[in-house]
């Protein structure tokens, strides 16, 4: 019984990290069909932002600097995303393969930039005191930092969902994603919406970076460890579907955790990939698909 609880918690923890790194991609990849390989480097930017704030404020004010890191990382990564959109991506809309190559290159440049600024050595971010340790429930020890990541993800999901549902800008974003040409002939400034979408998607990568900085060392290539998983979550979930991404992250996290129990991490990884391949054979459009009725499709 303990084993099941433990693996459930591990699975939930993996799921929360998967979802955190994938949330931004449901915007940029899922909604705008831009394959942004530099998304991982926006995660890195968020992680380094946390580090910079800690260095600046000193470890005495750890909790404060860590709290500030969340909005700061959102702004830093979001701004990087806006610059990337303005300089590169807007010229390549509708050319996914070119975008993939160019953003991969940009990602490498950002990694080098991080090396030049912070050195090739990894740096470490210390968790605020309140996140040290953990608690024990039903014989399972739950570390506070992992619980904290789950909480961030839950918060971000709620904020994003209500932004999309309840604000004018969110409605415009959904309208453009649904039917770009209809939105433009209805008076929606689609270019402006694209920029906002890209800003938010990239900013969320920054927030993911803050969460991930709690889990281990921060280095220039930290994003590479997560970018593939993030794309997988978006594809399995169904493009542009927040609900799909949540379900996919939980499914992949649990699969990973339960396969890993009794085998090894590599076997689990391979097992999850195999499951995804089989799943996509069966349902190439992903878990959640927009249903609609009508003649046009």
């Amino acid at each position: 019984m303990d084993v099941i609880f433990n693996q459930l918690f591990v699975g939930l923890s993996i799921a929360s990290i998967l979802l955190l790194v994938a949330l931004g991609l449901t915007f940029t990849f899922g909604q705008m069909n831009v394959i942004n390989m530099a998304h991982g480097e926006f995660i890195m930017a968020g992680a380094y932002t946390t580090y910079v704030l800690q260095t600046a404020f000193g470890t005495g004010l750890l909790t404060l600097s860590f709290g500030l890191a969340l909005p700061a990382a959102f702004l830093v990564a979001g701004t990087l995303g806006l610059i990337l959109e303005f300089l590169v991506i807007r010229r390549l809309y509708g050319r996914p393969l070119d975008t993939l190559l160019v953003t991969w290159g940009v990602g490498l440049m950002l990694q080098q930039l991080a090396r030049d600024i912070f050195g090739a050595q990894n740096v470490s971010v210390s968790a605020p005191g309140v996140l040290n340790g953990g608690m024990e429930i039903a014989g399972v020890s739950l570390s506070y930092s992992r619980l904290f990541i789950i909480a961030i993800v839950a918060l971000v999901v709620v904020v994003i969902a209500s932004y999309m549902k309840r604000t004018p800008a969110g409605r415009r974003m959904r309208a453009v994603m649904q039917n770009r040409s209809l939105a433009s002939v209805s008076g929606v400034r689609t270019r402006r919406v694209d920029r906002t979408t890209f800003f938010i998607g990239s900013g969320l990568a920054g927030v993911a970076g803050v969460g991930i900085s709690l889990l281990g060392a921060v280095g220039p290539t930290i994003g590479l460890n997560y970018i593939i998983d993030a794309f997988l979550v978006v594809i399995v979930g169904g493009l542009g579907q927040l609900r799909g991404a949540i379900l996919a992250a939980i499914a992949l996290g649990m699969a990973n955790s339960f396969i890993e129990y009794g085998t090894t991490a590599s076997v689990a990884k391979a097992g999850v990939f195999l499951l995804i391949v089989l799943f996509l054979q069966w349902r190439p459009q992903g878990l959640v698909v927009q249903a609609r009725r009508g003649l046009a499709s």
């Binding site: 004018p168 409605r171 415009r172 959904r174 309208a175 649904q178 039917n179 040409s181 209809l182 939105a183 433009s184 002939v185 209805s186 008076g187 929606v188 400034r189 689609t190 927009q290 249903a291 609609r292 009725r293 009508g294 003649l295 046009a296």
Partner: protein, 250 residues
Amino acid sequence: MTAEPVLRPSDPGAHVDPPPILSVKDLQVAYGPTQVIFDVSLDVPEGGLCCLMGRNGVGKSTLLQTIVGLLPAKAGTISLGWKEITKRAPYDRVKAGIAYVPQGRDAFATLTVFENLRVVAEASPKCEVDVVEAALQRFPRLRKILDRPAGFLSGGEAQQLAIARALVTRPRLLLLDEPTEGIQPSIILEIEDAIADLKKEGLSILLVEQYVDFAMRLAETYAVMDVGRIVASGPTEDFDRESMQQLMSV
């Protein structure tokens, strides 16, 4: 922003007739190397209703899409009143007063009926609270399905939503692409009434339609297209159904 022409009817000493609300001159449109619209000129008088007819595939929808800015004009000009809008972005044309109801009753499928109207009202610089309400008053059928996703409407409901959404922008000119296509007769009547009311209230309309009786009841002027050109036009009194037969049969 392009400069406005200097001369207006209100200017002292100017005796200029007001221009037609929509004036298309020598328009050429091409999909890549394939030209599909040749030298099309067409006017819609202020407050008038012009019906554009012709078989499938002769370029009627392409012409509307070019007027609203979804397709670029290769040559020629499009003017809305005094303003030339040939090179404007679609949302700028909407701001200038053009509204477009696409063929096939396009909608934002996962947004609800209410959100479909609201998102357009919010995008409009003239955003007023009552525009959505006014649109719903015109199509009361929509009021019962406000919370339904727009992808799950019947043909008639979707068409009414599409027209309502266009009206939310408070247009001066409405472009309607085959509003009766595949819709049950009772709803066609409702749509006809709505269009007649809009015309009475002074809205100018360019209607693309293959349902000749419907078009003739509403329009004052007509134009017939064939293979990318306008081959006949004039006031609807002069419309000769016999001689147009071969240009119209589907």
